[in-house]
Symmetry: none
Subunit: 181 residues, 4 copies
DNA sequence: GATGAATGAGAGTTCATTCAT
DNA sequence: AATGAATGAACTCTCATTCAT
């Protein structure tokens, strides 16, 4: 594993465990087993480090959700599979998911990072759009439907870090019941 | 308005507008039109100030939700009224609601504060319990149902600060559809 | 002596003895027997501290030169007295004078500070102007004449920190011979 | 042009444009189009680089002043020619001259460098010595006379970077009037 | 109780220098 | 000889907290 990844990994761990404010650059360097200065060869500032970490993880999450996603499958199936995958990612990558939660409202996130991250949602939108066209999903603003679903699922995951298969299914189906017509 | 309330109000405003890290005690004192030392007569530390503010606001929110709540009304009606009130509070008290969101995952919150806040949810639990007994709400852990609902609604509110009556109703009904049998 | 003066005095001493770059704020605080933070109650930054010190000292120098200055005396006498006073100040306030020399070309000096300092020269200009009108001083740009005189005298002082009365007179008379017609 | 000269040239440019403190070794390397490590093959440290640059430029200045200098010419003519050449060098090599000014009082200059530079003045001394013997220059310490002249001329040049022929002559003649008997 | 000047630990960051390649 | 990633000491500056008034 290269140095940059070491730094990102160390930062992720410490930010989640202690919060951003309580995690000094010195500590990250120690955890990453490199000098403080080395971090500044890869990131211009602590702020940039956090932003890059955020975009990185969010990108990985959506890459995972959408890989092998079948856009031709029935809408409900697409919906269930995408959100189940989201939950699987959260379970397999707890630090990453907690980080996304903790920083999702952080004022430290730049406009640029936020924009990048928002673009990742677009493919998800299409599932909802298709469902609305077919009349099987409620006819409301897609963005609101997505936010509703994501809010519900993220909260459920965060409060049940060791969720089982049954519960995962229950949650996704509840989310489906919420938006279906 | 007394000094303590002035301080809490000033802190709330600045924390939401600029983030906690960017808000110094000096600045809060200036906004509250009192000396720095005065704040330490009312709060042992910045941390305590944040914790007290959090518990205060969360308590007000639930007090508002549950005042005049009719525990004899039908379950769906109780559900809808409680969550509509929650949204109304969010709309009428934007700073307060944003603050709750921003700090809900904060590592600065003490175990004690978290516990106090969790207790506020209990009355809400009874609506779900009653619904489960009557067979009109899904038979799952009440806490998970509450978390699901709250996650969905909080996310929806945060992304639609100027939500209208229609949308509020839509969201609550989606939340109901999710948990109803 | 108050705290601010202590800080200025400590900074002056250390800047002259070691140079600005080699003098840390920590060291100045130690010399001034105050905390580092205290310095930032009086000066926004190291840069501001230097600028204020520069303007302060230059102002004192010119105040000394021009106090009891007789603008009705013959031009040569005014010239000699003013520059002798300048040299006396340099001798009695060696740290101060060295500081002015060392920082006179420093890029750290703000435009504002430079402007303030330049205004101090105006009364000096009038001696030259009067001499030019009377035809006893060379008819060249006053500013160039002043710069010539000051350059010569400052260099002489800096290289003869323990100059005696005789030498002082010699230098001033040489300066006079340079500009007189 | 070889690497070492490239480095010296780059350093000169950046030191004058931005000040020494604001010019990092990394930046010099970039300007010189070489690696940072390469610089340390030619100079032991930043300090040494500055000292070498200073001695180099001062040496070039005096080499220029004294080349084709006629030690048999009349004293006044020698004086005028030498100092005119000094000013010509300053005008043709503005960066170099500004550098000399900026660092002339710098605590970074080593005793060794200062000594080397002082030796360069010796040939100039002889002009003054000859004049004193002939009774046409004031009978004062030669070193003081040289310092006086140099201080006056350097200050005049620095404040008139685009000086014309007429002004140059005026300044040299003023300098001569100052020291002549 | 009210105040804010004083404090210094600790933050983020820089940069001269080293050394393995 | 040439390179530049790696380093960490040391910098400037912040700010929660204290305490004498």
């Amino acid at each position: 594993m290269n140095k940059k990844d070491n730094i990102l990994k160390a930062a992720l761990k410490l930010f989640v465990e202690q919060g951003e404010q309580a995690t000094s650059m010195k500590w990250i360097a120690k955890e990453a087993k490199c000098g403080i200065g080395t971090m500044y060869n890869y990131f211009e500032s602590k702020e940039e480090l956090i932003n890059e970490l955020y975009v990185d993880i969010k990108t990985k999450l959506f890459k995972y959700i959408l890989e092998e996603h079948d856009t031709n499958a029935p809408v409900k199936q697409q919906f269930v599979q995408a959100w189940l995958k989201s939950m699987n990612y959260a379970i397999s990558n707890k630090l990453e998911y907690k980080f996304l939660q903790a920083f999702s409202h952080s004022p430290i996130l730049s406009a640029e990072a936020t924009e990048k991250v928002n673009k990742l949602l677009y493919p998800l939108f299409e599932i909802y759009e298709k469902g609305k066209k077919e009349g099987i999903i409620k006819n409301q603003d897609t963005i609101n439907l997505v936010i509703f679903t994501n809010g519900a699922i993220a909260a459920s995951i965060c409060n049940n870090p060791n969720i089982d298969e049954q519960m995962k299914n229950n949650i996704v189906l509840m989310a489906w019941d919420a938006i279906k017509n």
